[in-house]
Symmetry: C2
Subunit: 237 residues, 2 copies
DNA sequence: AATCCCAAGATTGCATACGATTTATCCACA
DNA sequence: TGTGGATAAATCGTATGCAATCTTGGGATT
């Protein structure tokens, strides 16, 4: 797979172009337009975005830092190919952090937030009922955005950054090991969590969140490719 | 404050020099040899380590990503000056993550690990009983290393990276807002946590960890400088 | 036919150069 | 004496060039 479609800037970036490129690549990765193993060469990225290798390189470095990209010395950058072990660690981390985020969010959530969440869930549902890869991608993205909005409401910027990374990497993991239509039940669970938040029932909200994460991970097929280090390497190129 | 002492490479780095520079600067920051607000100009860092601005810049970008350094466009990089609000968020994050790390560590800790922890605690104690700024610095570093070792034993690389960041940033916070001789009681608490781990008493170990974090945060003076945005800005230069 | 080796091409690692922006200095002027 | 503005210095943002390293393809040898 190569980068064949022109990736558009979502906004005119007056400055800090490497940040904009990072965002564009991030979106492409969590959208699965760039699949694990895809090579991201500095010159190719640079010419796609009409910048020099220097700034392309900076964007790739940032992505490497958050684990979405792996760089090999003198070889280049590749979209990460998380191992089952990594996948487990990602979800273990989420199980640790997200209940805390729910607990913090329930203290700070406002009616306006609730309203925004409802709109978000409607969007999820809309994509859920559509067919086609584009809708599927949008659904995955919207599903992740629910968790990120929650982190945003919680009001802890550090945890928010961690969740940014974890949600993005989860998306990669689901792309690799996902078994079914990802969030067919996920959407209902998001709804239930939001209901609990609205009622102010923190205990239930955190419980629902834990189960939600359990369900996402349960939908993965982490055993199959466990011992296939060689095949993984082959899949890389 | 300027960078006036030659910072030595801990190891001969055959390659990936930016990583080595990042490590050296990281250590200098958590050791408080570089205090919050210190400017880290690309050329200065570069010439100190005998590299070009390109690689110095890469190191600074990494530090900015983990929150130890803040960059301002066209102005440069400065050692972070965390606000009281940031400090609270850092400790809130630790309260969320570290109990989970303790719980994971107790499942995996080996007698060899215990032995290593004991040696680590002896070192803490040695520095605690010494006087002088160098010993104080070493004590702070050793105290943080206890938490990082725990994260390492827990075996989750993602959480380990998060803790790396949180411990380093905590060190900055303590430098800014710390009230007393930091870990006079901290050492005893580390010992107690280790004892609980050795006994296999997970419930007690996590409780002790939570209290330990509470105590560290309680030792901070976060109210005083809360409204002084202006003075903070002044302290920057 | 399979294997090994070497050279050509491609890509990264790094240094340097130049324009843009910010900061500092100094002089004019009120 | 203090203020304003213009010029100079310093620093960053970015592009580009060269050397080092890796990959690839072809040809010779067994």
């Amino acid at each position: 797979m190569t980068i064949n479609e022109k990736i558009t800037f979502t906004e005119t970036s007056p400055e800090d172009r490497s940040l904009a490129i990072r965002e564009a690549l991030r979106n492409a990765i969590i959208d699965r337009r760039l699949t694990p193993g895809t090579k991201l060469s500095e010159s190719e990225v640079g010419s796609l975005f009409d910048v020099s290798r220097t700034v392309a390189r900076a964007a790739l470095q940032m992505l490497a830092f958050e684990g979405l990209v792996k760089t090999e010395r003198n070889r280049g950058a590749f979209v990460s190919n998380p191992s089952p072990e990594e996948a487990k660690q990602i979800f273990a981390s989420r199980r640790l952090i997200e209940p805390g985020i729910v607990a913090a969010a329930i203290e700070r959530i406002t009616p306006a937030d609730i309203e925004q969440f409802r709109r978000q869930l409607e969007e999820e549902e809309r994509y859920m009922n559509e067919r086609g890869p584009a809708a599927r991608r949008a659904e995955i993205k919207a599903s992740g955005d629910f968790h990120l909005m929650l982190a945003s409401v919680a009001g802890n910027l550090i945890l928010q950054k961690f969740m940014d990374e974890l949600v993005a990497r989860s998306s990669l993991v689901i792309a690799l090991y996902g078994r079914s239509g990802v969030s067919s039940c996920g959407h209902a669970e998001h709804s239930a969590i939001l209901d609990a938040l609205e009622k102010g029932d923190g205990r239930q909200a955190t419980q629902l969140m834990i189960h939600h994460i359990d369900h996402i991970e349960a939908d993965l097929d982490l055993q199959l490719k466990q011992g296939l280090g060689l095949k993984d390497a082959l899949a890389l190129t």
